[in-house]
């Protein structure tokens, strides 16, 4: 009996524990999150419930076996991920940030990251002034760069969709973007330079 029919027979979710053998690793089954392959079988690596979804790959329908833990997944930033970070410290060469969310997952513990001057903007790289792009306390969207020898995550905002999302003025009011490079305070009407992100809905048609 396949794992799928076992699941469908009972309405109760199938609870599994780490190391539990879930099903045979064959052409019909692919191991997904929370599982691993070992000696021709798919095993669970988490304690949680088994979830099976259909995945079409190269026009072949396969069952994707996943295990979802009860509490949220513990994840770490991977190169290429879009993260939400808070700017903490600025200097001439880089700004230090704290990664607060990866995608739409809120982290329970922030990760430290560095956004170097060269990675702030895609154009005019040699004329970037860190202080004219970010201020401490700004909430930014950024992409994680591949890990290098430096043992800290490196971010990049060199895309028009990346940059400041939320910034507060000196008056403590959230500012409104007026161009790609400026934001204005609705209370004092002061303009402040920022590297503003062009916010696009995630499911917008491309």
């Amino acid at each position: 009996m396949s794992i799928k029919s076992t699941l469908n027979d009972s309405n109760k979710p199938l609870v599994c524990v780490p190391g539990q053998r879930l099903c045979l690793l064959d052409n019909e089954h692919v191991s997904g999150n929370g599982t691993y392959e070992h000696q021709g079988y798919i095993h669970s690596s988490l304690a949680g419930i088994v979830k099976i979804s259909e995945k079409t790959e190269n026009n072949v329908k396969r069952n994707l076996i996943e295990v979802h833990g009860i509490n949220e997944q513990s994840i770490v930033p991977a190169p290429g991920d879009i993260v939400t970070a808070k700017v903490m410290v600025l200097n001439q060469r880089y700004c230090k940030c704290l990664i607060k969310c990866i995608g739409d997952v809120v982290l329970s513990r922030p990760y430290r990251a560095i956004l170097r001057k060269e990675d702030i903007r895609a154009t005019d790289k040699d004329r970037i002034d860190v202080y004219k792009c970010y201020r401490p306390g700004d909430i930014i969207l950024a992409r994680v760069l591949p890990l290098t020898e430096i043992h800290s995550y490196q971010l990049s905002t060199a895309e028009s969709e990346l940059g400041v999302v939320i910034a507060h003025s000196d008056a403590g009011v959230p500012m409104i973007p007026i161009s790609w490079t400026e934001m204005q305070c609705p209370k004092t009407h002061n303009k402040e330079p920022r590297k503003v992100a062009r916010i696009v809905p995630e499911n917008a048609p491309v």
Binding site: P13, V15, V17, P18, G19, L46
Partner: protein, 247 residues
């Protein structure tokens, strides 16, 4: 004094192949990602797991795996004699290293490069088999933390009484009065041994006997822990409606 009486009972009234009562609970603390409390007879252990998070000491970071950091400590009131127990003495450092070895065998560290997983263990009451209780408690805490494991890692001790009777899950009295003790930590499903330690030499004829007994103990402890985790999951899952999943 014999460790096994004529009636075939041990000092605490157990049969030679009988485990001590195991009681355990997952998720006892709110702050760490995962925690567990485990009682094996009179040995009581608390475990807390933090992480995976960024490596504190940058030079220790690994580019292809998570660093597993264990810390073993005993409470001042854990033994018969009240005594301040500083961290980092030889006994607890050795314990820490062995715990790390056992945990590394089970955690899928390759999933978390440049990260660190902290496991803190505190012995509240020591009555023999501290290492095993710590391994079992740490496993439960890791499961509670949702850290991917290859499988459980289970610890168990065994010893010899009256010269040739294998005793399982020895208490402190039997540990000190009896002969050599064998401590083993295994991955019970695949049968791989992560840690194996003898306090003294064993006769070759006895070693396999005692080892098999310890491995059998591990399998039985595994069943107990498995039941606990499944019960815990169904309880938590039923309350939270199995998370946000659309099952």
């Amino acid at each position: 004094m014999d460790l096994v009486s004529d009636q075939g009972l041990r000092i605490d009234g157990r049969r030679p192949k009988e485990l001590r009562k195991i009681r355990c609970k997952l998720g006892v603390f709110a702050q760490p990602e995962g925690s567990a409390y485990l009682e094996q007879g009179n040995t009581k252990v608390l475990a807390a797991v933090y992480g995976p998070h960024q490596v504190r000491n940058r030079s220790k970071a690994l580019h292809d795996a998570a660093v597993v950091n264990c810390q073993y400590s005993m409470a001042t009131f854990s033994t018969f004699e009240r005594k301040r127990r500083p961290r980092g003495d030889i006994k607890s450092t050795e314990m820490t290293l062995h715990l790390k070895q056992a945990m590394q065998a089970s955690i899928k560290t390759e999933l978390y490069p440049y990260s660190q997983i902290d496991i803190y263990l505190e012995v509240l009451q020591a009555d023999g088999g501290n290492y095993c209780a710590c391994v079992n408690a740490a496993t439960l805490a890791l499961v509670d933390a949702g850290i991917p494991l290859k499988e459980y890692v289970i610890g168990c001790t065994a010893s010899l009484g009256n010269g040739d009777v294998p005793l399982i899950d020895v208490s402190h009295l039997e540990e000190t009065m009896g002969g050599s003790n064998l401590t083993v930590a295994v991955l019970p499903l695949s049968g791989q041994i992560a840690v194996l330690e003898m306090s003294q030499k064993f006769h070759v004829d006895h070693l396999s006997l005692v080892l098999n007994e310890a491995l059998d103990g591990c399998r039985r402890i595994y069943e107990i822990l498995n039941d606990t985790v499944k019960n815990h999951l169904s309880e938590i899952g039923a309350i939270s409606g199995w998370g946000k999943s659309d099952l």
